[in-house]
Symmetry: C2
DNA sequence: ATCGAAGAGCAACAAATTGTTCTATAGTGG
DNA sequence: CCACTATAGAACAATTTGTTGCTCTTCGAT
C-alpha cells in the first residue's frame, strides 16, 4: 500500500478536473470528454484514460467538484426573519454566481439515469435543507414559531421556489420576488407579535 | 405555395418523432440522433437529414412532443380543497406516468443553453400555472380566500414543491406528502370557517 | 391514364471521435 | 544511484456524423 500519493497523479487529476468543470459550465456535459480535456489542458489522452477509464466516472467527478465548492454555514442569531433572509440570499446568489448554479440542471438531467449523479445532488440538497432547518430550529428554541406545519415542510417550500423559478419555470430571481418570498415564509412560520410567549 | 402537405412527408415526420420521443424517454437526449432514429424506424438517414438538417431542431421537436401530450383542464366546482386536490393529483401523477415526467429533466438541462428548449418548458409551465390559478380564481369568486399573499405566489409554491422533490431533491411524491402539501396550501389560502362572508 | 415534381431509399465518402495499445521519456522515492 | 510509476506521443481499428449523387416510388395536377 502506498503511503503517499505521487504528486504527479494529484497534479494531473486536479488540473484535469479544473478543466472539466470549466467545460461543463461552458459547453455542457456532452462536451466533457477525454478528448476535450486533453485539448484544453495539454494532458495526453492516454493519461486521462488511465485516470478515468470510464467517461461516466469522469463526468461524475466534475459534478462532484461543482457541488462541493459552495458551502456556507447558517447564522442563527435571530430573529428568524433576519437569519432566513441572509441564508436564502446566499442560496439564491449562489444559483446565479457559482459553478453549481450553472451546472445544476445538467446534474439533474444526469440523475435521471445515473445513480452516482443522483447521490451527488441528493447529498448537496440534504446539506442545503439542513442549513435552512438549522435556522428554523434556532427560531423554535427562541419560541418564535407557531405550529402551522412541520418545519421540514416549510423548509422545502422555502428552497423549492427559487429552484423552480430559475430552472423549471424560467422566471427571474429578482429582489421583489425574493422579499415577498422570504416574507411569506416568515409570516407562515412565526407567531404574530402579540401572541409571543 | 403547396396547399396540402405531402402525406409521405407527414407520415415520415410523425413516425420519426414517435421514435425520437421513445428514445428520449429510454436513453436520454444524447441518444436522439439521426442515426438512432434511422435504426429503430427503418427511415433512411439521408431522409432524416433532409427533414432535420440540424440535430438541435430534431431534439427540440422531440421535446415539444413530450410537452404537448399531457393537457388537462381544471375543474372549478369548489370548494378549493377539492378542486386543488384533484388538479394537483393530476399534475403529480403526470410527473410519474407521462412522457413529460420522464423527459422534463432533459428539457431542463437543454434549456440552460438552448433557447428553443427554454421556450418549450416556459410555455408548458405557463399553462400549468394558469390551470392552478384558475382553481384559485374560482375560490376567490366564492369568497373562500383570505388575503395572505398574491394568488400567483401561492400557486408557485403549490407547483414548485412537487417538481423540487422529484427532480432536484430526489424525494418521493407519496400520499402522505401529497396530503400534507395540499392541506397546507389550502390552510394558507382560505379563511377559517368562522370568518367566511 | 399520364407525366412532371418531390420524397424516400441506398451506397459511398471524408472527417472527426473514441477507445486501446505500445514505446520512449521523465519525475519520484528509497 | 536505482527501481518504480506517471506521462507523452504515435499508431490503430471501429464508430459516428454529415454530405452527396443516384435510383426508385409516390403524389397530384392535367
Amino acid at each position: 500500500m502506498t503511503r503517499t500519493e505521487d504528486p504527479r497523479l494529484i497534479a494531473t487529476r486536479e488540473h484535469a478536473l479544473d478543466a472539466a468543470l470549466e467545460i461543463l459550465k461552458d459547453e455542457g456535459v456532452l462536451a466533457v470528454t477525454h478528448g476535450s480535456i486533453s485539448n484544453t489542458t495539454g494532458i495526453s489522452r492516454s493519461t486521462l484514460y488511465r485516470h478515468w477509464p470510464k467517461l461516466e466516472k469522469l463526468r461524475n467527478d466534475a459534478f462532484l467538484r461543482a457541488a462541493t465548492s459552495p458551502n456556507f454555514a447558517p447564522e442563527t442569531d435571530g430573529p428568524l426573519r433576519a437569519d432566513l433572509a441572509r441564508l436564502m440570499g446566499n442560496l439564491v446568489t449562489a444559483l446565479s454566481e457559482t459553478a453549481w448554479g450553472q451546472v445544476a440542471p445538467q446534474v439533474i438531467a444526469a440523475a435521471a439515469t445515473d445513480q452516482q449523479a443522483r447521490l451527488v445532488i441528493n447529498d448537496f440538497m440534504k446539506a442545503r435543507i439542513a442549513s435552512v432547518e438549522a435556522v428554523f430550529a434556532a427560531a423554535e428554541e427562541r419560541g418564535e414559531l407557531r405550529d402551522i406545519a412541520p418545519v421540514r415542510q416549510l423548509v422545502e417550500m422555502a428552497i423549492a421556489v427559487p429552484y423552480f423559478r430559475k430552472y423549471i419555470a424560467g422566471l427571474p430571481l429578482d429582489r421583489d420576488w425574493f422579499d415577498a418570498h422570504v416574507d411569506l415564509i416568515c409570516r407562515l412560520a412565526t407567531k404574530a407579535p402579540e401572541e409571543r410567549d
